[in-house]
Symmetry: C2
Subunit: 239 residues, 2 copies
């Protein structure tokens, strides 16, 4: 980062993949459900399908095809579609509700809690996730994530990467976009934040999609920070 | 509380007066500002006037006379009106902004942090304040309040005691009103919460308005809990 770059006061964090390891966590719950039903299943494939289904569902909300629908409800729509294909359509309503809330019970990456705790000593740290407030709040309790504030696309009725979500979060914390930094493991999220005037920090999460030998640093070189994990980001930010 | 009462899963806290001692904290900042300007002032009277001015300003928003205006802005409107009367109209814009943010720097009551930390081990604990999100977030950092989530009337564009604020908070945390309890030191707030279907806990804060020999328990006897402070509430809730 060059010395002329304005300093961030608030760090906003993407959550799924950046703070928590959704794939391993969901696969673990999928495996447990499958075992309880005596069904053979590829738990990682199930997790990947569930995750992949959320984006087109969210895009239907973004384009106005669906009215505002939160992520719990979008996850549930995708789940209900998937269950028959995986031989799990015998699950009761209560079991489906519990299974759907697996997204509230995601494990943090090994550095997340320690890194966030360090960063919190110098910055306001908040979520900026497409996950709904209840999901993020329950997840923070489960994973002991020390947020100063839980912000969600739900508050603005605009999912990322809509510009309104980034600007809404900065405005709600009463900080100019130029003093707000998005921390994320995904280039598209960071590029949209930068287009809205925020600072950007890319964090490598090479295991988000499972082991991938082709995982690389972002091609985009102009993020203010590129870090190996949250501890590295804290070090680079002088905490 | 009778054994048939449904259990709360979420505790929502009123903040000004219930969690933090606004009067002493504001008076301290008023005294410092007055001293820096060489002005004699009754700092407690200033604090009381500032606080008293906020309710009619808020009611103008509730009645639609003013469009949605957050508490930082309402505090600032009241402050700008008061400064000339107290001989402080020489303050610059930057000084006024800093002074107005005294409401972000309020001290907790002596039991607040320890009591909230205990309660957090069993319940989701969140603010439900008329203060805006930025104010509540900065205050939590200043006073080390361990919220799971910062909720504000700002998110619903309805100030308490509007019904929408209580129901909005329960809905945002995905918990039925009957499993949500408002904790507050003010009867009007609790009565409105109860009318919306929430559980209620009254906490005595006999020093909120300064020493008052006539401070009494609420006349209203039907709150689910009446506690001397947050430690007492935690004990009564079995934490």
């Amino acid at each position: 980062m060059t010395s002329g770059t304005p300093a961030a006061r608030v760090l906003l964090f993407d959550v799924f993949g950046t703070v928590v390891d959704w794939r391993s966590s969901i696969a673990r719950e999928v495996a447990a459900v499958a075992k309880s039903r005596g069904v053979q299943i590829d738990a990682e494939a199930f997790a990947d399908r569930w995750r992949a289904g959320y984006r087109p569902a969210m895009d239907r909300v973004r384009k106005g095809v669906l009215p505002w629908t939160n992520i719990d409800s979008l996850h549930r729509m995708v789940l209900d579609e998937m269950l028959p294909e995986f031989g799990l359509d015998g699950l009761s309503e209560a079991q489906r509700q519990h299974f759907n809330r697996a997204w509230h019970r995601l494990d943090p990456w090994p550095d997340s809690v320690a890194g966030l705790t360090r960063l919190k000593s110098k910055f306001v740290i908040a979520t900026l996730s497409n996950g709904n407030v209840a999901l993020l709040t329950n997840m923070a309790k489960f994973a002991r994530l020390p947020w100063d504030c839980v912000l969600s696309a739900e508050l603005f009725h605009h999912y990322k990467p809509d510009r309104e979500s980034y600007l809404g979060a900065a405005a709600m914390l009463d900080v100019p976009p130029a003093q707000t930094m998005l921390v994320a493991a995904h280039e598209d999220d960071l590029l949209a934040a930068r287009a809205a005037g925020l600072l950007t920090a890319f964090v490598r999460r090479p295991l988000e999609q499972g082991p991938r030998p082709d995982y690389n640093l972002p091609r985009e070189r102009s993020f203010e920070y590129v870090a190996d994990d949250f501890e590295d980001l804290a070090r680079q930010l002088g905490v």
